[in-house]
Symmetry: none
């Protein structure tokens, strides 16, 4: 049989659609409506977060935080934001293949509304994934916990769509043969990866790290799949898709972002097919805080700690601080103050009584660390 005949026997190769690997300019819903239905395998969406800021915020050193105050993040009310959300989700659902899945990222400002809308529209949540940031911005005024994570929702198109892509074994193999958890640790996007404008300032206020998108694609797409990003921004989704041998479609309103994204993606060199297997995520060294010893019951509030020579005795309080007379604070601050020093490593300075002798609390930290390592703390 000749090669020509063999080719003729095959069903025709799918013509690469014109819109593949391009950025569509315009409103997100209008652009989605132009795409054929059931045509993309995965959607990654990073919609506006509906941040509601009250005036300027300054760091303790008086420098001003460059906040997200762009037009595209202004909504009059929750109702307005919900209407916007439902409109783009509905349009996105139409273009998603029946066994496709969607990822949406957000913060506490918007993610609850987005998640509820997704459920209302018929999406079926498979997981919520927490992106833990290694280097989040601190809380400068000390009135809340440091906002150190964002949330992603991963959902199938329908409740009974069971044949979605999930590369379970590859993820597990890349994770030291432990199944991948729902909490991921990545740094925010900085350094050379962060696109800059002509002034040297960040081009886009919310550029996501490529490593985060790469894990998403390695988890939920196959090579050759089509990934749609309806809020394309600086084009991270396109850059990662090209590198990993996936097709992308981007939708973006602002020409500046489109130009920068096109340039960025053009510079990407795709990986060899053979290398498209494993990407390992960063694991942090486990950090144990003093309060964790109370959490785990290794130390009890009211317990007494001593320095090595039993010159000082301090009491452990329920809030995880140490107190000796008027002097109270962290194990480090109290140790430093007693010795009249600037600093002190409380872990090695303080001891607890065991078997009639003294043992460094650092020993307890070592034990606690063993328990945390499993979770990749």
């Amino acid at each position: 049989m000749s090669a020509v005949r063999a080719l003729a026997d095959l069903s025709p190769l799918p013509q690469k659609a014109e819109w593949l690997d391009t950025i569509l300019k315009g409103d997100c819903v209008a652009a989605l409506d132009k795409l054929p239905e059931k045509s993309v395998d995965v959607i990654f969406a990073d919609p506006p977060y509906n941040l509601q800021l009250n005036g300027d915020l300054h760091r303790p050193d008086q420098s001003k935080v460059d906040a997200v105050d762009n037009d595209w993040d202004q909504f009059d009310s929750f109702a307005a934001y919900d209407a916007f959300t439902r409109a783009w989700l509905l349009a996105a659902r139409r273009v998603l293949k029946p066994n496709g899945t969607i990822w949406v990222i957000g913060s506490y400002h918007n993610i609850f509304r987005v998640g509820a809308s997704m459920q209302d529209l018929g999406f079926w949540i498979l997981n919520d994934i927490v992106w833990r940031k290694t280097n989040p911005m601190p809380n400068f005024r000390g009135r809340r916990f440091q906002n150190a994570h964002e949330t992603m929702i991963w959902a199938s198109r329908d409740p009974n769509a069971k044949s979605y892509t999930f590369n379970y074994d590859a993820l597990k193999a890349s994770n030291d043969d432990i199944q991948m958890r729902s909490d991921w640790l990545f740094p925010i996007c900085t350094g050379a990866e962060r696109l800059k404008n002509d002034n040297g300032d960040k081009l886009h206020p919310t550029q996501k790290p490529e490593a985060l998108i790469a894990r998403i694609m390695m988890a939920s797409t196959k090579p050759g799949d089509v990934v749609l990003d309806p809020f394309f921004g600086s084009g991270t989704t396109g850059a990662v898709a090209k590198r990993l041998g996936r097709h992308f479609v981007g939708i973006e309103r602002e020409q500046d972002y489109i130009d920068a994204a096109n340039e960025r993606i053009a510079a990407v060199v795709p990986l060899e097919a053979a290398d498209l297997t494993v990407l390992s995520g960063k694991r942090a060294e486990p950090r144990v805080a003093f309060v964790n010893l109370l959490d785990s019951g290794m130390l009890k509030p009211g317990a007494t700690l001593y320095d090595a020579k039993k010159r000082w005795a301090a009491k452990v309080r329920a809030d995880g601080t140490l107190a000796i007379g008027d002097n109270a604070g962290s194990i480090h601050r109290v140790g430093a103050a007693l010795q009249g020093l600037e600093s002190c490593n409380g872990w090695t300075f303080w001891h607890y009584e065991r078997n009639g002798g003294l043992t460094q609390i650092d020993e307890l930290r070592r034990i606690a660390r063993l328990g945390m390592e499993r979770a990749g703390a």
Copy 2:
């Protein structure tokens, strides 16, 4: 004067409300409606998950998940869960003090709906907190990521309630002097802490670890505060509250849980008051005005103050203001103006000469405070 007369002169001690440190039996909303408005400092709520497949929202614990059921109507089911959620949230909001806060825990099944309802009802989200489990249940089918976390929403009663309790300094000190993040790591409740029934099976399917509740209480309550738990279950909230010197109110429908919780709480030994002292920061210190340093003679009118690098020299005036050239005003205003900043902490900016070196005037404030404490100010 007789003891009787003296007592009569005092304003009446607040009678301990009958419902304090008890469990109210019954439906959550009905019981909440019986409590006085604005009477609790913090609410911790662990509401039922949204079990659409059996339709019984109030008794999730005995349910079996039927994976294939074509009859259910997701819209009706979500709507029913939303109605339930809004009803208890609204009732809970009424009993919350204006500066109180609420914690709600959930998973991806229900937390998005709960969060959206909270925003709709006027609660103001302060943080979402991720409870990362050191030992979560694996995903057995390999079709999803291991569901390794739950989400808690922490919210104030109103958007502009700014005086809620947040023990920032204690949390930071307990965390090795680094501010506490929004992702917490704890083991799930197992072992001796887990309540068992007569068969040796777990008494309650979703018993939360005491360490998790303890961190919540240490973060957002003071000793003596009232903590309400409208889904009391096995009574973890009550046990932790008693141990940490807080009052609790529980609401629970099932007598088995009430009996077990009462027994459990009765066995709890409260910590000593001294061990419950919460470390507070500068904000809680008694205020010292700059002019007090003149009053007490620590500084004299005409004295010269410098910034750390002796770039500026300002003169202290008899009225407690500072002057340098045309620039006069409070230590803060003058410091800010010199640096061209919006604000400045004059206490740490200005220094005086001592032993040939420069010392912050904040040191004088510290000494002044010691004097005030002796005087019982």
